[in-house]
């Protein structure tokens, strides 16, 4: 059913966007100064999230999305692998 597909899609989106907010606006900005008191190697943790970590997590999030959506597509639309060609 189409509505179930859409609802499942929205659920995936909400979880991933929450993580997106957490690694960038959260760790990189709002709690960055707090995290800066911890240091790993030469990096303060907050600084690392702001200039490195957030970018790596963004990449992971998109690939997570691709994986979850492909699974969802297969479940709800098993036959329509080919997109209509216009």
């Amino acid at each position: 059913m189409n509505n179930d597909y859409w609802r499942a899609n929205l659920k995936i989106l909400s979880i991933l966007l929450l993580l997106w907010f957490l690694v960038s606006f959260g760790f990189g900005i709002l709690w960055s100064d707090f995290l800066d008191q911890y240091q790993i190697g030469g990096f303060k943790v907050g600084f690392w999230f702001a200039q490195q970590g957030s970018i790596y997590f963004f990449v992971l999030l998109i690939f997570g999305y691709i994986y979850l959506m492909n699974k969802l597509d297969k479940k709800y639309f098993p036959e329509s692998e080919e997109d209509e060609k216009k």
């Binding site: 597909y5 030469g42 690392w48 200039q51 490195q52 999305y65 691709i66």
Partner: protein, 582 residues
């Protein structure tokens, strides 16, 4: 071979490659011209998107900006990559499913209104031209510094190349040249970064190197940098000097703006399937992340090297790069204490910030500037932040071929972005303005002809921007992202996720977002530049971050107005349902 001949060789070879690809992939139909016949492989599209996205600003300016901003520079790193998450999750797959040619096309169809389409065309043209102007300046800088041709000639050469492959090849030609340009630019960015990382920290991976200890010492590079910058009167390199709310809003405006940039969105129209649009956003971000994660390392190295090599150096024995950049006016030195040594510290060295050179030479052979010195500090150096990446290989004394490579890479970055922008401008004129609004009866052949004409006109205008650069290029960047965030992004997002939004709401939302954001930026950046300080800003938000507020206003107005008018017609509901299915 000397650096000069090597530069000519590298740039010449890369240009020959782009032209060869353009001839091989000519566009034969409007489908080819606008969206490359929907036949682009996701990995190739990812590379093309990355090249399209990473402009002269990313390649040349960004690391330099971060070098001087320190942790505040993170807004660019997070803002210009995080937008891809939004793009991949919220827009790309649905817009690909919609399956038309342009961004205004979607807005016009979804809001069943040519007025909405026109508002979108205006925003798009404004955003894209703002951007093109910056690319042409990049081309000018590279040509004048490395090839020693006149800036104007450099711009004209650049225009001819772009003209050739954009007008001939359309989206198809641009896509495959962008793939080649990505390879050139990423190689050119990584090679010097790796070299410098090894020289300074002994670690060949720049991303790890800038968190490592300095060679022959147990001090971490960033700790040393914090210490040195604090001593010179700056905020420590790894600490923010902007307020948290401002950083939050700037990052948000850049992210939502990125997701609303038409030349990026349209790239996802070129892949065969919806699932490919997702994949290609993922690949695009991987290719972008390679450069963006290297950039902050380059910044830290550059800042350290810059301080080490100029601080308390006698001007007469200053390194040659210092004098080369002084010659083209991007570095200036004013010996405030007449000791013949260069002193660098916080604050602007000169009154009026930018140096005005007169024809004389000073006591030590420096170019003399007519600005009075700024006596509030002891800083004697003016340095244009744009030069750090280009000067970096010279500062670190890398071999000539690396310097030549960087020149070719910077040109690839500028040209690939310029081409992508020119294409969306031409498509929105020939397709949205002519075919869909003014001249609905033209044939496909005629439309293709008009598309090529408008691409040609757009290139000429862009070239004029390069030759007579408007003094406000730097200011208008805030504009491009602010407007994309406050107009295009909300219209697209609600078009997909909020079925009830009707044309009245969408148009009111876009126009109010546009007016609020534009007035705030114009007020502080153009009319009252002296008031542009955090005390006067609305709850401490700088004009750069105001696009985020404009976006919130857009959402509120659109949803409110929408509730007073009739629901959208049934066929719109069906259309939204259909784009929600993969």
């Amino acid at each position: 071979m000397d650096t000069q001949s090597l530069t000519y060789l590298f740039v010449g070879l890369s240009f020959a490659l782009y032209i060869g690809i353009a001839i091989w992939s000519r566009a034969k139909s409007t489908n080819d011209f606008y969206i490359a016949g929907k036949g682009v492989h996701p990995i190739a599209n990812g590379m093309a998107t990355a090249a399209d996205w990473m402009s002269a600003a990313s390649f040349i300016s960004m690391a330099g900006l971060i070098a001087f901003l320190g942790k505040d520079g993170s807004v660019y790193l997070m803002g210009w990559t995080g937008g891809y998450v939004l793009l991949a999750l919220l827009l790309a797959p649905y817009l690909r499913k919609f399956g038309q040619y342009t961004v205004p096309d979607f807005i016009g169809t979804r809001y069943y209104s040519n007025a909405a389409r026109l508002v979108a065309v205006v925003c798009l043209i404004f955003v894209s031209f703002t951007y093109v102007a910056g690319q042409m300046r990049g081309v000018g800088i590279v040509f004048s510094r490395f090839l020693e041709v006149d800036i104007n000639q450099g711009v004209i050469i650049g225009m001819c190349i772009v003209f050739f492959y954009a007008v001939l090849g359309g989206m198809k030609g641009i896509t495959y040249t962008q793939v080649a340009q990505y390879c050139v630019l990423i190689f050119a960015y990584l090679v010097p970064a790796i070299f410098i990382s090894i020289l300074m920290t002994g670690n060949p991976i720049p991303q790890l190197g800038f968190g490592d200890t300095l060679v022959d010492s147990s001090t971490y590079l960033l700790d040393k940098l914090d210490k040195v910058t604090t001593e010179l009167g700056f905020t420590a390199y790894t600490e923010n000097s902007k307020t948290t709310i401002d950083i939050f809003c700037i990052t948000a405006a850049l992210m939502f703006g990125t997701a609303g940039l038409p030349h990026v969105i349209v790239r996802f129209f070129t892949v065969p399937k919806v699932s490919d649009a997702r994949k290609s956003a993922g690949y695009a971000l991987v290719f972008i992340a390679i450069l963006y994660s290297t950039a902050p390392a380059v910044s830290a190295f550059a800042r350290m090297n810059f301080i080490d090599s100029v601080q308390e150096t006698e001007y007469k024995s200053a390194p040659s790069w210092f004098k080369n950049w002084e010659n083209i006016g991007l570095i200036a030195w004013k010996d405030k204490n007449n000791d013949g040594l260069i002193q660098y510290s916080a604050g602007n060295a000169l009154e009026g910030v930018k140096p005005k050179f007169n024809s004389e030479t000073g006591e030590f052979g420096e170019r003399s500037v007519s600005n009075p010195p700024n006596n509030n500090n002891n800083n004697e150096i003016y340095i244009d932040r744009d030069i750090m990446v280009l000067a970096n290989p010279e500062i670190a004394q890398l071999p000539g071929w690396v310097i030549a490579l960087v020149a070719a890479g910077a040109l690839a970055a500028a040209l690939s972005t310029a081409a992508g922008l020119l294409l969306v401008i031409s498509a929105s004129i020939s397709h949205d303005l002519l075919k869909k609004t003014l001249m609905p009866n033209i044939s496909e052949k005629q439309e293709l002809f008009y598309a090529r004409c408008s691409a040609a006109v757009a290139i000429l205008i862009a070239g004029l921007f390069g030759i007579y650069p408007p003094g406000f290029v730097a200011q208008v960047v805030a504009f491009a992202f602010g407007l994309a965030a406050s107009t295009i992004f909300p219209a697209l997002l609600m078009g997909i996720f909020y079925k009830r939004l009707n044309k009245e709401g969408a148009i009111a939302g876009m126009i109010s977002g546009l007016i609020v954001t534009a007035s705030y930026i114009i007020y502080f950046k153009f009319l009252n530049t002296h008031l542009n300080t955090s005390d006067n800003w609305f709850i401490g938000i700088s004009p750069e971050g105001f696009g985020f507020i404009g976006m919130l206003i857009n959402f509120i107005i659109a949803i409110t107005i929408s509730s007073f008018y009739a629901k959208p017609p049934d066929h719109v509901y069906e259309m939204v349902d259909s784009i929600r299915r993969p």
